[in-house]
């Protein structure tokens, strides 16, 4: 995926706020790109623009060689075979009155994948691939823990075998062990399926562990980007330095 000079301005209490200010970035097949920055820096807006969930003012988004910036209706829906998104709050991604299994089946029927018998198999496989027993398919979202529901959200995002997954703070509501479990899962999918991942997080250590490249966003712009170890060890932009120096870490001794 490639973004070329994407811009998005919001109007808030009479003022114009440049949430995304002419941003260009690209993600190669099988690559994981980390997008970090303070709250309100525009990283979520950029992700939503890339996924065509928010209308952009100008610029282009190219997915797999195809300009998707102006697609609508059925053509846009087809894009979501290639691109899927996982959000911070997994419960918001499911209908609270519909079982997890029904929610997953709906995706397959929307995309016209397989016969009804095959669909059940695909759902079972998808749940198993994220470490959920098939019985979870019969449960309502409210009966799941945050970690289980986030796995189900990932299972659903992966059902259509996308080539790009956008994770917006997908693990920040989870505790450390569950977060590490999800990270293992994403790494496995990346290595086995060649999945590309745009990984948005405010946890720099997490991004450092998972991503090969990091882009730092501030006031709607990408202010620094480069190999993950370099951005963390030798930050160049003052804002990257500020983010790193504010970080409350466990320190060396622990």
């Amino acid at each position: 995926m490639e973004c070329l000079e994407v811009a998005k301005t919001f109007k808030k209490s009479g003022r114009l706020i440049k949430a995304v200010d002419n941003v260009s970035l690209s993600i190669a097949p099988g690559e994981s790109l980390g997008l970090v920055g303070g709250s309100g820096c525009g990283k979520s807006t950029l992700a939503r623009v890339m996924a065509r969930l928010t209308r952009m003012d100008s610029g282009r988004v190219v997915l797999d060689g195809r300009d998707i910036s102006r697609l609508n209706g059925g053509e846009l829906r087809e894009c979501y075979r290639t691109l899927q998104m996982v959000f911070q709050d997994p419960f918001a991604s499911f209908d609270p009155r519909q079982t997890i299994g029904r929610g997953l089946l709906e995706v397959l029927s929307n995309f016209n994948v397989g016969s009804s018998g095959q669909r059940k198999d695909l759902v079972r496989q998808a749940l198993e691939s994220v470490g959920l027993n098939v019985e979870f398919g019969g449960r309502l979202p409210g009966d799941l823990s945050g970690g289980q529901c986030q796995r189900a959200a990932i299972a659903r995002a992966l059902l259509v075998r996308p080539r790009l997954l956008i994770c917006d703070e997908a693990t920040s509501a989870l505790d450390a062990i569950v977060q590490a479990q999800i990270l293992n899962l994403l790494r496995k999918l990346r290595d086995e399926m060649g999945l590309s991942v745009l990984f948005i997080s405010h946890d720099l250590a997490l991004v450092r562990a998972f991503c090969s490249r990091i882009a730092v966003m501030h006031d709607g712009r990408i202010v620094e980007s480069g190999p993950a170890e370099k951005v963390i060890a030798q930050p160049e932009h003052p804002h990257t330095r500020l983010l790193l120096s504010s970080l409350i870490t466990l320190g060396e001794s622990v």
Binding site: S145, I177, A205, I248
Partner: protein, 315 residues
Amino acid sequence: MSELLRIDSLRVNYGRAEVLKGLSLELRPGRIFGLVGESGCGKTTLLRAVMGLLESGGRISGGRVLFEGRDLSTVSAEEMRRLRGSRMSLMFQNPGESFNPTRTIGRQFLETMRSHGSFSANEAMENISGMLQCLDLKEPERILKSYPYELSGGMLQRAALALAMILKPDLLLADEPTSALDAIVQAQAVKEMMKLRDEFGTAIVVISHSMGVVARMADQVGVMYAGRLVEYGDTGAVLSKPLHPYTRALMAAVPRLDGRWPSATDGAPPPPEHNVRGCGFAGRCQLCAAECLDRSQVLEPVEAGHLVACLRAGC
């Protein structure tokens, strides 16, 4: 100095599910206690039980909560209402819960302040604006005129923290106070909580899944697993020399800036409705022995200021 808060073998049930299975801890004035553990292990329930704000269906089924030596189960509803807010306050994990969605933030601050003390409107507004600015909310007037839904998650979380701190309580219970904040604002929020402790002697119980925040803030740490404390002691000792296999697993899962891959222990804690006979962690523990499945472990001191509930502690 005597304890401000003492929790004695506290048990809490939601229906048949025992969410807290006999938990004890004590906290002196001006001390900060960090509480860590997997989601669903009972951390939030513990804070709610102290405040007398268990969700419907929840009840204390054993043990006691003592605030300044008084058993809170003997305190009248009216007096509990007076204690909450002015003497002890709870910052909810979901900041939306701290606010009424149909009233402006400012009106709710004023209500809280006026129901617990006599403040002139100007005096109150000055206090509130000052506190909001300390938490990096740069336009306090705009925030105070807003309704909760008009603020971002991070802003609402800071407003909820300000509301919990505004009356300088003796005891602040903070449930994931910085989870929605970026590194820069998180550092400020931590600083403000510690300033409250330094200036007013507020004792704090802080729940966080950021081990860094706990390491920075807490004098003592309690590690919870499946409704019990499994390790308890001085922060330095517990985090740098963890003895319980669960604490070790937790520490190994924390991502570090050196890029090392966080290690994930398989499995999940037993659901609270399962009555586990032995150690709750046994099913996921690589050191598990036959005797671990027989009886539940109690916290025992291994060295001064460091207790652990494990037969194979430190193996």
